[in-house]
């Protein structure tokens, strides 16, 4: 996983609601005194270029044009050139993704809700992300090579580390970790290989999956490992509080 520069993270968090719209480049009359920094304009410009024409075809000239600055300025801010800009775009988008996930998961009031909210939000962010959609259609290798085998293990580890604390209100730490990783697998699987009749951007579909497969699995996980092989282990001796309002 890339190192998240604190600056990018701040930008991602503070500008969560400005994702993918033009206001990022047009601060409006109230913001005359604080123009958008050139770094931010370059990152946003690169993102819109990628959404339009993909990564391979995006040149630094395109990025400079979209950012309203010169090529030399892009190099001054990103001495690494195109790779440097792309790295900053990825950092920004990843932090935006996790910020959005944090908002939704933080609002949840029970275990079922936190899972449904997190999985639906993740699927929706990924599906509706214009640059990502373009990449998956035009340059799938850029995305797919990150989502299987050892690199997928990294994605699982990072997502798991971020989402585990949100489950901690209902599950102990080892359980939270397992469930966070499991939920990530489910989302990635249905996104990469859509199933008939299952739309993970639809909370009702996610809720059905969570109720049918995930919650019973969590109940089974709660039983000590040694008992996991016995019949009793899979019955709900330790029902997990999933009723609405129970946590409040």
């Amino acid at each position: 996983m890339r190192h998240l520069e604190p600056y990018c993270l701040t930008v991602g968090l503070a500008r969560l609601e400005l994702v993918r719209d033009e206001t990022a480049r047009d601060p409006g009359p109230d913001h005359d005194v604080a123009p958008v920094p050139v770094r931010v304009r370059v990152i946003d410009g690169a993102l819109s270029c990628i959404a339009r024409q993909g990564v391979a075809k995006t040149t630094l000239d395109d990025v400079a044009r979209a950012a309203g600055c010169s090529r030399a300025t892009v190099y001054r801010v990103f001495p690494g050139g195109k790779d440097g800009v792309l790295g900053a775009v990825v950092d920004t988008e990843v932090s935006r993704f996790f910020s959005a996930l944090a908002v939704r998961m933080g609002e949840a009031t029970d275990l079922e809700d936190v899972l449904v909210a997190g999985m639906t939000e993740a699927a929706t962010r990924v599906t509706e992300h214009p640059a990502l959609a373009n990449l998956l259609a035009q340059e799938p290798e850029m995305v797919l090579s990150q989502l299987a085998f050892a690199r997928m293990d990294e994605v699982l580890a990072v997502t798991c580390a971020f989402t585990t604390p949100f489950l901690g209100r209902w599950l102990d730490q080892p359980e939270s970790k397992r469930v966070a990783e499991w939920a990530t697998r489910i989302v990635v699987s249905y996104l990469l290989c859509p199933a008939d009749g299952v739309d993970l951007t639809d909370a009702a579909d996610v809720r059905r999956l969570v109720r049918l497969f995930v919650l019973p699995g969590i109940r089974a996980l709660r039983v000590p490992e040694a008992g996991a092989r016995t019949t009793g282990a899979l019955q709900s001796h330790n029902p997990i509080p999933t009723t609405k309002g129970e946590a409040s």
């Binding site: 090579s145 299987a148 085998f149 293990d153 499991w182 699987s189 019973p216 699995g217 282990a233």
Partner: protein, 194 residues
Amino acid sequence: MDGPRQRILEATYACVARWGLSKTTVEDAAREAGLSRATVYRYFPGGRDELIDAVVSWQFLVFFGRLYEEVHGATSLEEVLDRGLLFARRALIEHEVLQKMLEIEPDVLMPKLTVESNRTVGLIAGFLVPYLHEHGMAEGVEIHEAADFLARMILSYIASPGHWDLGDPEQVATLVRTELLAGVVGDLRPAGER
């Protein structure tokens, strides 16, 4: 399936193992197979791209064919999954050509594997349906929906086990009885009781 087509596939696979996916040409495959370029083109009119895709598809089927051999004698759903996960993970780690390609050419290989893997979800699900049928489903769970869920989870764990150690039979048994089967089947019997 012996014949020129098979011979070409095997020759191409040998070239890929040696030089990688990107560097293998129709000429290499023809030379390795002891056939002319024209013959290779007769079987694979799409040339190099078609040949490489066909090799990936074929090797995918070989892999899952071995997996099928490993589990088809199992007498219970739990046993199918226990044995299948243990075998598949080990076979994948020990698959030298696959591991080499993943290291040197993930960008070329991954889109192809994703396409194959999506097809395989249906194959694995179809294989599991009779076992699910025999076992009996949990209330409210539709059998094909469950088979599809299990198939995609199996593929996910095999390729990227995350924090699970799929070389450890105890962990595999726990995984099968929790994240895989707990919600799917009505009741789970202890390993060895069926």
